[in-house]
Structure formats: structure tokens, C-alpha cells
Amino acid sequence: MADAAAIPSKADVKAQNKQRSLQFRAQHGLVVAFFLLILVFHVLSIYLFLSGFLLSRLVLQDRSECAVPPIDLSNYTPGSQERGCWHPKSFDKAVVILVDALRYDFTVPFQASAGDAEPHYFHNNLPVLYETAVKEPKNAFLRPFIADPPTTTLQRLKGLTTGTLPTLIDAGSNFAGTAIDEDNLIEQLYLAGKKVVHIGDDTWHSLFPGYFEPNLTRPYDSFNVWDLHTVDNGVNEHLFPLLEPSMAGRWDVAIGHYLGVDHAGHRYGPDHPAMAEKLRQMDEVFRRMIEKLDEDTLLVVMGDHGMDVKGDHGGESDMEVEAALWMYSKKGIFGRDGEGSLAPTATAKERPVAQIDLVPTLSLLLGMPIPFNNLGRPIAEAFHGSSKLLQPDYRNLAEVSRLTSAQIHRYQGEYAKVRKLDEDATSAPAKLWRAANEKWSTLSSSEKALKQAYEAFTLYQAENLSICKALWARFDLVSMSMGLIALVGTFAVIVMYAQGVNGDRAALTPPLLGWGLMGTAAGAVAGAALGALPIAAMPTLTAFGAATGGIVAVLLGFWPARPILTWPFPKTFWGWLCFMSTALLCVGFGANSWIIWEDEQLLFLLSTFAVLMLGASLGQADRQDQILGAVNALSFLVATRISSLSRLCREEQARNCRSSYYASATSSTSAAWQLAIPFAVALLLPTAVKYFFVRTKNYHGSAVIWIGIALRLGLIMVASFWALDSADDGDWLPQVSKDTLKTARVILAQIVLAVAFAAGYATYVWASPMLAVKTEEAPEKPQSTSKPINNEDPNAPILTTINEAPQPRSKLIIYGYANTHGTRYFLLPCAWILALILVQKPMGQGALALCFISILNLLEIIDANNLRRSPLGPIVLALLGMFHFFKTGHQAALVTIQWDVAFIPLKTLQYPWAPLMVVLNTYGPQILCAIAVPTITLWKVPPKHPGLLGRIAGQMATHVLFYAAIAVATVAEAAWLRRHLMLYRVFMPRMLVAVSVLVLVEFVGAVVAIVGVRWSVVSVGDVFGWPE
């Protein structure tokens, strides 16, 4: 505008614009690159921390051998497959049935208790296991079967075949299991030439590739939790023929893995007719199996884990770990050690066995060597060895117990040797081992002495197990500290960049990026060089070197720019408020209660902000601003509170919390009334968004096409999707086959995604600013104004007269001038909201729609109070994102991950789409809020406003700062409280949410939001020319 006096020639202006446009594009690219560099720092620090924090166990490669028993056997010659490797075998063949998520209380008769007077759908529908254990105690027994968390199927299968404890590092790999590389029962069977058949869940095949009989084995996709019957029917179809006498000799061990119970739990929750039906079906299956079973075959039925009240699992709550184990044979060799254990226990709290105990039990029963790494102990009922039901043969028991103990002892010796463990860690069990052996060697044949020896070995096994548990709960403090240091350093970089720069960030970014890249490279090389020495681990040191090198270099890069730096402390009322709320949350996460009740705190904080914004707006001098701000603040308050009604309580909240996210607290489907929500969203959300565009006269062109038509149609399709889904769940349309319903649903979802991403992005990229130009007859006298009126009042239609002085001509009125930038950019969140709403459950769709309206409210409030440069916007957006994370049916707990959304646009599990859908569902609100961040700067600024890019970068950095602060705090607290009772239930999940959301928001902020700014700013610049 400086050249108002000397009007430049057209060509000059064109050249200048071209140059400025180029400059913007270059700076823009570098800003995106800088954010990606910060992302790299974060990824490195999180990798360092987690590799030290998530527990690790050294996997020994040793294998047990048939001919090499762990200890001298006095009265048995080992090494014969026919008689049994280390101990006489009891069975030639076994049918091992795994009923996924078979909780113990599903299998025992319901007993009324206080507050639970009536049996639920999951009670009394699978009586066969209990009946046989009571009626034929010599043929069958039923015991609670306790899983070691994490209670995911993959982890459980490892435990059930290797007999060792799971480590957390594997917990996340449920989606892509990898082969087991330590000694295990399946491998032992395979190497011994036994024919193992597997039918059912295909997780087994990723764990034991190539070990199963190819002709008879039938794997089924395991993650389609919406399908209750395909896998189960398939198992029945292929398993029962094996039991026919004609098939004898073609298999030795048959494994059937049923998934229906688990899927019924995930999809409907345990207390649902579908679960009752499923359990009855299982009951019938086992009765048929008993009928067909021959004398020499052992039948094992077990659950790999339980499920929580909602039917999900993964954690370590009682209900999730309490599975059932039932063994049956027609040989009548089982027994009990007394009256007390005759009938199965009423609850899983009494006389439980650990799941790892299955491994030595099954190995010895089938005459296999016990896998080398096993820590389990033999189950007493199975080695009864006597014909009297209540009087076990303690010699047999003591023998198997001694064998197992000896194998454990051998393993411990190897482990201590490899790990160079000190004596302390092994002295207590070593003493028990010696004591037990003494008892054995001085054995008289009296029943009492044998019993004592048996008990001494059992004691050794128990002590050893607890030592192992403690030992493997060991953290790598060096790696954790490295991660924490890098995380804090990155935090310092973001603080300086976001709040310490008092000038144009866009110009400061290129040197910072240059320094950072050089530092990262130099650090990585230095780290790798150090890592090449034998004393330390190469990847750890390289990562640490790269992160710290880069961080230090970026911080140094600030030095030349010190004239435009300030101390990054809050300076305004709002700055302090933002700082205090973030700090309060960070400190609060040091106490488990505040993590558990985070949703309520976020409501509290958001309401605080809203009330203060309401007050501040009322204090505005300008009447328009006053009303605009106040009305939007009220809308924000009400929207937030309505949204808060959508809750999914976590287990720890139970006493004071009622879930409303699903039909009931024990279900995971939506109630029928909740189906109204998607339709209401389809009806109201586009109208609401339209209102904000209309207010500034920006509802033209692409805005009409996208908001008025595409978004509305898309949302109607989303609503139809969920209607079809409920129709399928509730069998409302019995005449239409399930398959047709599913196909229709999947196609709808795919169309919505195509509309959102293909059409949405196309609209966004190629739209021109949403302006309407009208020509009016110019007044008689030509006007002499030569620059656009930059009216401070954003709400009145803005009138601009463009005229190149000489010729008299008509007047141009540009509608929508005041908010050109804001509305142009806001098409991007409008495209994303469609995809994000699709992957939410009906209740979550309402919450997300309210979140979207709250974002628009916030933009108006910020405009009314002129707070565009304040940290208020980005921080409230971050709070809003976190808040709606809870309101879309999530909690900082593994069980609340809504895995089933992977099947919204897909019929079968497909990578990478399935995990991507789960991410969009889980972190949808945070993604939406991160994409909205640039709008804070762009909303209602005039087209030729200078320095936008730098300010957008600053606001985005402030937004990231919130998540980075939470990540630093939760990581430090998880490290500090690593011996806390609630570590795995509360602190670790929150920390994992914090770090994953940080990385995701940074990625989305750079690659979606800031990259998106380019098209919007360029399109506005092309129309109005570029600012200096």
C-alpha cells in the first residue's frame, strides 16, 4: 500500500506478485520441513524412552530335547517318543479347543449375590463343562485359568505355547503378529514328527508358520469382529470330520480356535441375547465332541482371556484375566486331592491355575519334553496317577513336579549366565531348589514324605515365578533418561519457536531448519561412531545423538536472531490462563485420580475459558463485537456441556459414572434412539456451518457446492450407513441377507470416504476464494478512492471500490472480502469432518459435530476480542480436541480402542486401511482441531494481510506445545512412578495416549494443516495480489 502515491505499472505489479508468490511458496515449504524436523525429534525421543520403558525379556534360543532330561531320572529311561520323552505319557492324541474370551463365570452355574440377583445372558448357557466335572470327576475337571496381562490373543497364545511371561513390547503388535522364536510346544510336536492340525483364528499361523498339516489346516481371518459365525462354523465343519475313526493316523494334535464368543463380546457386550445363543452353540459343540471322542484322546477346552463388562479385553482387570480351563478324557485318570476340590469353584478367585501351567501339563501328558523357557507348573488333577478319586499318587506328582522344577532350574542357570545376573537375584529360589532336592533324595516311600517333596518343588516353582516377574519388570533407565532428555529438549525448541519469537517466524525458520538438519546429521554420525564401540547399543546411541545434536543446533540457531526473541513466559491474562491450565493438567497427571477423571477436568477447564471469554466479550466496547462474542461464547458453553453427556466410563470410574455412549453399560452397540443423532447431524451441521459463512457473505461458489450439497449428502449417507448397521445388528430386515446389508454398508462408507478425500480435496485445492462480485451503476461523479477500505468492522458487508482513476465506470461490490482467507481455508476442515464423522459411532458423531461448531464459535470469539495472536486459540483447540477424545467413546485405556471401525469401509482386514480407520476414530477430534488451527490466524483477516505464514506457524507450534507439555509430563511421571501399583492400568496408558497423540497432531499439523494453507493463501493471493 506504500505505493499509493506512485501507481506502479501493471507489469511491475505482476512481476512483483509473482516474486512474492514464489517467496511464499519457498518459505512455506521450509516451515513444513521445520515442523517435520520437530516431529523427527519427537519420534526419536519417544522411541528412546519406550524402548527402555516397555519391559523386555531376553529370549533364549535353547531347545529342550527328548533324550536330554533336565535332571537324572532314577527309574525311567528317557528319550522314547513312544513311551514319553521324560515321563510316561498318558495320551497319544489331543484335541485342544480354544474358545476366545471364555470367561470363567460363563462356565459355572450362576449364583445370586448382592446387587446381582438375576442371571445374565452370559450365565448358565454353557453348562456342559461344569456338569461333566461334577458328574464324572475322573474324566473331567474345570478350573479358573488366569491369564498374564496383556490379555490380547496374540500375547496369550505365546504364553499358552511357550509357558513364559509376556513382555509389554509385544502388546502393540496385535495387528501384525510375528513368529515365535523360542522353544514352544507346537515346535516340539512338529519336530517330533507329530501331525498338528489347526482350524480357526489365523493368528496361529503368523506365530507358527509352516508347523501345521497343510491339507487339514484351515485358517480364518481373526479381526472381523462383526462376524460372529463364519469362523465358528468353519471350525465345526473341519474339526468334526477329524474325530471320525477313518481319520485316525492323519493327525496327532488338533487345535480349534473359536472366535464367536469373543466377537459377540466385542460387538454386543456379554449381556446380550447373541452371547447366550453363542454360548449355547458352544455347549452343543462340546457335547458332540465328548460323544465322538475316543479313549486315547485328550480334550482340552480353554479361554485365552476373559472380557470386561463391555465385552472388550486387553488390560489386566480381574474380568479380563479370568478364563476357564476344562480337560476331559474317557480314560478316567484325573482326580482330586480332597473333598474341597471335588466340584469346580464358584468364582475364579479360588484355586486358580495360571495359563502358563498348561504348557508343562500338556507336554508331559503327550510325552513331549517341557519347552526350555517354561515357567509354569504341572496341574495336579492331570497327574493324579491313582485309581482313588480323592487320593492322588504323590509319587507321580512329585516326579512331574521335580522334572518341571529341574527344567526351570536349567533355564534359570542359562538365563543368569547370559544376562550375567548376580547371585542375589537367584539365591532365594536356589535355596528352595536345594531344599526340595534334599527332600527328594532322602525320600522314603511314605505318602507324607512324597507329598512334602511335591510341595517343596511346587514352592520352588512359585518363588521362581515371582522372581521372574519382578526381574522382567526391570526398566532400562539409561534409555529412558535419554528419551526424557531429548523430549525436554524438543519441548524447549517448541517453546522458543512458539512463544519466544517477536517477529516474522517465516523468515526465521530457514536458518533454524538448516542448523537443525546439520546438527541432526552430525549428532547421528557421532552417536553411530560411539555406538560402534562394543560398550553400548548402536541404534540407541545413534537416535540419541541425532535428537540431541539437532535440538542443540536449533537452539543455537536462535542465537543470531536474538534481537527478535523474548522470554517465552506468558505476558497476558489469557497467556497466563493457558499456561496455568496446561500446567495444572500436567501436574495433575502425577496422581491416578486425575488421570481417571480427566474428562471431567477438561469440561471444567473449557467451561472456565468459555465463561471468561463470555465476560471478556461483554466488556468489548464495540456493540457488534460484544454481541458476537457473547453469543458465541454461550453457544460454546452449551455445546461443550451437551457434548459432555456422551460418556464412556472407564473401569475405575465405575462408582460415580454412567456410560451413555452405547445402549447400556454392558454393550458395545448403539441404542435405537441414538440412530437419530447421525440424521440430526446431517440435517443441522451443514446449516450451522453455512450460517457462519453467510454472516460474512462468503457463502458462494465452492462453499455452496461443498457445504450445501456435498457435505449434506455425505452426512446423509453416513446416517444411512449406521441405520443399515443397526438393522443388521437388530435383525430388523430379516428378508434381506446379512451379506447384502454388509455390502451395501461398505459401499456407502467407501463412497463417503471418496467424497471426503477425493472430491473434498479437489474442491479445496481448486476452489477460488468465496466471493461474489456485483456491479452497480457508479454515481455520476467518479470516485477518487484508490485503495480498498479496510473496515475494522468485520460483520458489515464490505464495500470496496476499485477504480483506476481515469474512466468513469460502474462500481464493483465484493461480498465476502472481510473473511476471504478464513472461509477459503475452512473448506479443508469441512472436507475432513465428513470422513471423521463416518468413522465415529452415532453418539460420537454428535459429539464431533458439536466440537466442529465449538471451533467456529471459538473463531468468532477470538475475532470479537481480537485475540488472534494470543495463545488462547491454539490451547483451547487442544483442550477441545482432548475433551472430545473422551466424548467420542474413548478413555486412556487400551480396552476402549474401537477396533471394529476397521470394518466400516472394508469387508476384510486390509493393511494399511484398517489401522488407519482405527486411528481416525480414536484421535478424530484431535485431528480435526489440529486442522482448524491455521483458521485462528486466517479468520476474518483482510486478503492482503502481511506475515500470515509466520503467525500460522507460531499458532501451530503453540498448539503442539500443549501436547508436548502433556507428553513430557506423562512420560516423566510414568518413569517416576514405574513401581506404582497403577502403572499399567493408569499411568502407562495415559503416557501412550500422550505420545501417540503428540506425534499424530504434529504430523497432521504439518502435512494436512500447514500444507493446506498453501493452496488457500495462494488462491487468495492470486486474486487480490500479494502483501509485502
Partner: protein, 241 residues
């Protein structure tokens, strides 16, 4: 608003001054007694507050209202009453018509309490709900909490400032200079805010139940706010934008 703004600037600084309490002996005495009375409410009734919040809060309300009313009448200049010019040393006080004086104070006090009861209490009730108070249970608890909060926040402000819209807009936007009464109102609100913090802790204490901690916070906050507003931050103005 532009016209209003011009009147504001034409009215130089007058409404932007903080308000002093009356400077007579009774006023000073009660102004000092007032925080002690308020502060003693919580420890005296704490046990019954924990055992039976509804009845205790209901029973306390008249007492608190009375204390607040006396504070208004004795210590504060009522609406429109020019702040006492009468404390120049040596000048004799005009003893006007005492009966009329009393009525000139009691009527605004009564109005202040009516407004507090029928305007502030519902508004604060809604606000409490918006902040996350139970929506479908504990209605009486929340209403009584709002009542107590209202009793401590607004009577003195209504009494001193009346219903002047521009003053109230300044009050809600934190732009009014801080004085004793405003400090007390803000203190009560901040105290209530802070009082909510210990509720989620898993200490399983009886006193963590709704709304005990908030009531305690409100009373403590009101007293602290009054003292700070009256002495430390007197005349200060927050810069919110």
C-alpha cells in the same frame, strides 16, 4: 455502542474508581469483624455440612444473608450515594435524619438480596451445571451451593453499583478496579473453582462429597479475596485483552 462510548469518555473516570467502605467507626469495626464471621462459618458447621449438606446449607443461608446484609448496610455506600466525603479531619459530621438514612440503606439492601436470590442464584446454578455439576441428581445440593455462592458474590455489588449496565459489563469482564467488595466476589468464585480440584482424588474421605469442598473454597476464597481486594490490590485493574 459508539454513542455509549462517547458518553463514557465524557464521564471522566468516575465509574472507574474503586469504591471505599464508609469511614465511620461502626463500619470499620464491622468490616473487620465480617471476614471473621464468614470464616468461622465453615469450621463451626463443617461436621454437619459433611453429614447432611442440604440441611446445613439451608440452615446457614439466613445467617450468612444477615451477616452480608449488615455488612452492606453498615459498611458500604449504597447506590448513588456519593462516597463519603466526610472523613476530612476536623470536619464535623452532619447528623441528618437518621430514620430516613436507615430506610435509604435498608431498601437497596433488600433489593440487592432479592436480585441475588432470583437473578444471581439461578444464573450461578446454571453456571455450576455447565462446569460439570451433576445434571440429574443432587439438585438441592447444587441449588444451595449456588445460593451460598450468590450470597457471597453479588449483594455487595448490587448494593454499591445498583443495576448500572455499563458497570456490570465492566464487572463481568474483569475491568472494574478492584476494591473490597469486588475482591470478595472474585475471591468467592476463584475459591469455588479451586474447591472443585480435590473432588476426584481417591482418598475416600467423606468430605470429598458434593458440594462440601466447593462451599469451603467459596467461603475461604471470599475472605481472602476481600482482604486482598481491600488492601493489597486496591484500585488495581486487570488487563484482560
Amino acid at each position: 455502542m459508539s454513542s455509549q462510548q462517547s458518553t463514557k469518555s465524557a464521564d471522566p473516570q468516575k465509574p472507574l474508581k474503586h469504591v471505599d467502605i464508609l469511614q465511620n467507626q461502626a463500619s470499620l469495626l464491622f468490616a473487620n469483624l465480617h471476614p471473621v464471621l464468614l470464616l468461622s462459618v465453615v469450621p463451626i458447621s463443617f461436621k454437619s455440612l459433611v453429614n447432611d449438606p442440604v440441611n446445613t446449607l439451608l440452615g446457614l443461608a439466613p445467617t450468612v444473608a444477615l451477616v452480608q446484609a449488615i455488612y452492606c448496610i453498615v459498611c458500604l455506600p449504597s447506590t448513588g450515594q456519593t462516597p463519603p466525603p466526610a472523613h476530612k479531619p476536623g470536619q464535623k459530621k452532619k447528623s441528618g435524619k437518621p430514620v430516613q438514612d436507615i430506610w435509604a440503606k435498608v431498601v437497596p439492601a433488600l433489593l440487592s438480596f432479592l436480585l441475588t436470590l432470583f437473578l444471581t442464584t439461578p444464573l450461578l446454578y446454571i453456571t455450576t451445571i455447565l462446569f460439570g455439576a451433576p445434571l440429574i441428581s443432587h439438585h438441592l445440593h447444587t441449588i444451595l451451593l449456588a445460593l451460598h455462592l450468590a450470597l457471597l458474590t453479588t449483594p455487595q455489588l448490587f448494593y454499591v453499583h445498583g443495576l448500572d449496565l455499563s458497570t456490570w459489563l465492566r464487572l463481568v469482564s474483569l475491568q472494574q478496579p478492584v476494591d473490597e467488595m469486588y475482591g470478595m466476589s472474585l475471591g468467592a468464585l476463584v475459591g469455588g473453582w479451586l474447591g472443585a480440584i480435590p473432588i476426584p482424588l481417591d482418598w475416600d474421605r467423606e468430605w470429598q462429597k458434593w458440594p462440601v469442598t466447593i462451599v469451603c473454597g467459596v467461603y475461604a476464597g471470599a475472605v481472602v479475596g476481600k482482604v486482598l481486594g481491600g488492601y493489597v490490590f486496591k484500585g488495581a485493574r486487570m488487563k484482560i485483552n
